[in-house]
Amino acid sequence: MKTLWVIRGVAWRTLHRVFTNPSLLIPSLVFPLFFFVAFAGGLSRVDDVPGFDFPLGYTAFQFVFVLLQSAAFGGVFTGFGIARDFETGFARRLLLAAPNRSGIVLGYAVAALVRWLVTAAVVTAVALAAGMEVGGDGVDLFGLYALALVLNVAAIFWAAGIAMRLRTEQAGPIMQMPVFLVLFFAPVYVPLSLLEGWIHTLASINPLTRVLEAGRSLLAGSPTEVGVAFAVAAGLAGAFWLWALRGLRSAERAG
């Protein structure tokens, strides 16, 4: 019960801070839209490349990437907030006050999740308004958003682990850059089968490739490798939960 109070308190405070501060809210809403416009608009001709076989067109193809990217970066942006809380001393007071400290990490995770749900709603609305086709039924779409949600949780635990170890806003690039690289070394612009050379090798071993391709198959209504994708995303979330908890212990030791 005490853990729930901590989760609720931390989540409420984080969400209140984000939703009442345009400089924190707007970038997390605008960046995914911007990528969606730049990729789906500027590169739509790519679906004419011989061998490009995604049935719903390039807008839907890019939508899945942008949705997953917004989920991952929603977690990272919340990680920036954790780092800021440590830098301002708020997190130290929180450590003193919380009866169950793992609730702090979970509270930030709940905030990241709610924050991403708002972003996902906006991105989806814009994509549908832009004429995106949807092939999957309700269950497929639920699967797509659930997959993104697990990725969001994995990203916040990753970022929280960094923020709690380094406890400075200057850790921002360390949270952001690996996520950026893992996302962009997946088949972002064309399906895996059209990638060649080193990028194909890298994309083939990149765990996010399974998640991205499963997400696209769910939107298209022909799910493939969904179980593998969920296993990968859940595995990342589980591993980064341990990473975040160890980060919390590191912050506790630092006082």
Binding site: F34, V37, G41, L43, S44, V46, G51, Y189, G197, I199
Partner: protein, 259 residues
């Protein structure tokens, strides 16, 4: 008099450069991030070279122009952030009590940024050549490319300085970064304009001056000597430079009067 001015500029340019060199993030990020994006785009979009009408069979050669423009955007941020810090810490106020001329401050600040801009351009060019890109315009094209990099570093650096002098806030300068990024992405960065299918996007890319900056660099790499692309690129870069320098000078005068 001109000797004194040159001395002042040199001192401040050296300070600007040393300050940049002492912050590894200010060197590594502008060098690494554009090259990383080049690798990602060149790998991921190589299949786009199979589109009918695509001007080259190497996407790396096509995309090599992008780091040059991105590097200039980083110059904007660095120039602006450093100058804003000078304002916030009171350095500019103390400087205004000395015989130092305001314009020396601007020129010195830009001197450091231009040096970084040219170093960045050399690195991008070397990486491009190392991965097999051959300049269709030959060695003379490389020199023109460096001259262009120098010009856009001055222009974008002056824009950053203007933002800093106008707002006096490093955070405000940093917040310009997404806006500049929008200009970069809504351009002919990833596909030639004639291959952009969506009408509004093609129109936006056509009215976006950044498209012409990219196409100027790109023409030297994949076309050879294209007079129109060069004239448009250098013309727009020169116009940005003149306007930005004028705005920065006026803002500097206002800022020094206030302090």
């Amino acid at each position: 008099m001109s000797h004194v001015f040159a001395g002042q500029v040199l001192v401040l340019a050296r300070r600007s450069l040393v300050r940049t060199v002492r912050q590894p993030a200010n060197i590594v990020f502008p060098l690494v991030f554009p090259l990383l994006l080049l690798a990602v785009n060149a790998g991921g979009l190589d299949a786009a070279t199979r589109l009918p009408g695509f001007p080259t069979d190497s996407f790396v050669a096509f995309a090599l122009a992008i780091p040059f423009i991105q590097g200039a955007l980083f110059a904007t941020m660095n120039a602006g952030t450093d100058l804003a810090r000078d304002i916030q810490t009171g350095f500019l106020n103390r400087l205004s009590l000395t015989p130092m001329r305001g314009i020396s401050l601007l020129a010195g600040q830009l001197g450091g940024i231009v040096t970084m801009g040219v170093v960045q351009a050399l690195v991008y060019l070397s990486v491009g050549l190392a991965v097999g890109v051959r300049l269709e315009s030959g060695p003379a094209g490389a020199l023109v490319l460096l001259a262009f990099a120098l010009l856009i570093s001055v222009g974008f650096g002056a824009l950053g300085a203007f933002a800093a002098l106008r707002t006096g806030s490093g955070e405000a300068v940093q917040s310009l970064f997404p806006a500049f990024f929008v200009f970069l992405f809504i351009s002919s960065m990833n596909l030639p304009r004639n291959l952009i299918e969506i009408d509004w996007f093609r129109t936006a890319a056509t009215v976006n001056p950044v498209s012409y900056l990219i196409e100027c660099v790109r023409s030297l790499i994949i076309t050879g000597w294209d007079g129109q692309a060069l004239a448009l690129g250098f013309g727009i870069a020169a116009a940005i430079t003149v306007v930005a320098l004028a705005l920065a000078s006026v803002s500097l005068r206002t800022r020094l009067t206030r302090s």
